[in-house]
Symmetry: C2
Subunit: 199 residues, 2 copies
DNA sequence: GCCATATCTTTTACGAGTGAAACACCTGTT
DNA sequence: AACAGGTGTTTCACTCGTAAAAGATATGGC
């Protein structure tokens, strides 16, 4: 609540927060080479020029990208009857190389324990993962990939990645590296700011 | 389907697609200053060094950022009893400045018509939007903000934006601009590649 | 040894989104 | 005028995720 009210609406046009005003303005319409968010920002500037829309240019774009990607990105997975979340569980087990508990899987895949339980049930019924009780602590369940699960991940991973590579291929290689680096910086900050409550 | 299989798994280690292998490798563990995705990439490199994890560094990070943001970003909204999606509808009506149909709202907010119908029902019950039938074409419904709805958006928008600004403040200003620009480039590509089917 | 407390997993109740079907209406053709 | 086909909105059945409660087990103080 502290800094949240820092940018009052009567900040005054021109000195709005720190972001430069959007370039010119095709009357709120959309210019060639612009993405959706640029148009949105211009519309806001037309009706509320006092407000600093800077954050939208990052957060809005991340949300749009994530939405677009999630709608289409999973084509190779869907083909195998999996969704992103299920593949995420399988992939986590594969890349760590050892058994994990449902709690660890939940933390690793950013979802609730309940969601993991559901997914494990389905993946178990399909013979892709196995559960066994921990001998030391019988509250704990240990989950591992079956041979079939491992084979499926290994087959799907390159397909999925090359599909993703195709999706990204419209951006020049050097800029992809820049983008990855900057997203990494942002993610570190977000983890610190928003992820701490879990520690 | 065309270019999607371009990067075959037997691309050969060292020449994997275009991404450099992850730096050294703390045994799959996590180094200081690294984000979660960097650790994930290293784990993959340890068990499947033949695979080009480049796309993960962008898509994985975007997904993580979006997940983290969505969990916490909405603090000021939640305080007003709204969620992101509802605020998105109100904001769209506010920034365009005129009445919109449910279909237009669906396209604008990236969601299904059914979802928009539900939201409009709730927002209508709370007195934030009004529907009226189009006089020309009676299939069409026109939605507009009530005075209360407009006042709520105008009050919430600066709060929400300065909250978002605080979340982003850990990244240096110049880098935020770079990030916004690169995300814009990516978004243009994604819109072209993944958004075309709707046209 | 026993109890209070904490931790891990699963179950339950519910909210939100989606695709497909249903419904209402328009428009051009015959 | 009637009809076929198209478009816009809503309803329906379903999936998926979550928070909170329940169930099972460990652990430390007495």
């Amino acid at each position: 609540m502290t800094a949240a009210n820092a940018a009052d609406p009567d900040d005054g046009p021109g000195g709005a927060g720190g972001g430069a005003p959007p370039p010119a303005a095709p009357a709120g319409g959309r210019a060639a080479g612009d993405d959706i968010v640029a148009g949105v920002v211009r519309q806001w500037y037309a009706v509320r020029p006092d407000v600093d829309t800077g954050p939208m240019e990052i957060i809005g774009r991340i949300n749009r990208c994530a939405a677009l990607l999630q709608q289409a990105e999973d084509a190779p997975l869907r083909h195998a009857g999996l969704n992103r979340a299920e593949f995420d569980v399988l992939g986590t087990l594969r890349r760590t190389g050892h058994e994990l508990t449902p709690g660890e899987l939940a933390r690793e895949t950013f979802s609730s324990g309940a969601a993991v339980t559901k997914r494990l049930k389905q993946l178990g019924e399909r013979g892709l993962v196995e559960r066994r009780a921990d001998t030391r602590d019988r509250r704990v369940v240990l989950v591992r990939l079956t041979d079939a699960g491992r084979a499926l991940v290994d087959a799907l991973l390159p397909e999925q990645l090359s599909y993703e590579a195709a999706v990204l291929s419209g951006v020049e290689a050097g800029r992809r590296d820049d983008l990855a680096r900057l997203l990494g910086e942002l993610l570190v900050q977000l983890e610190g700011r928003l992820g701490l409550p879990r520690g």
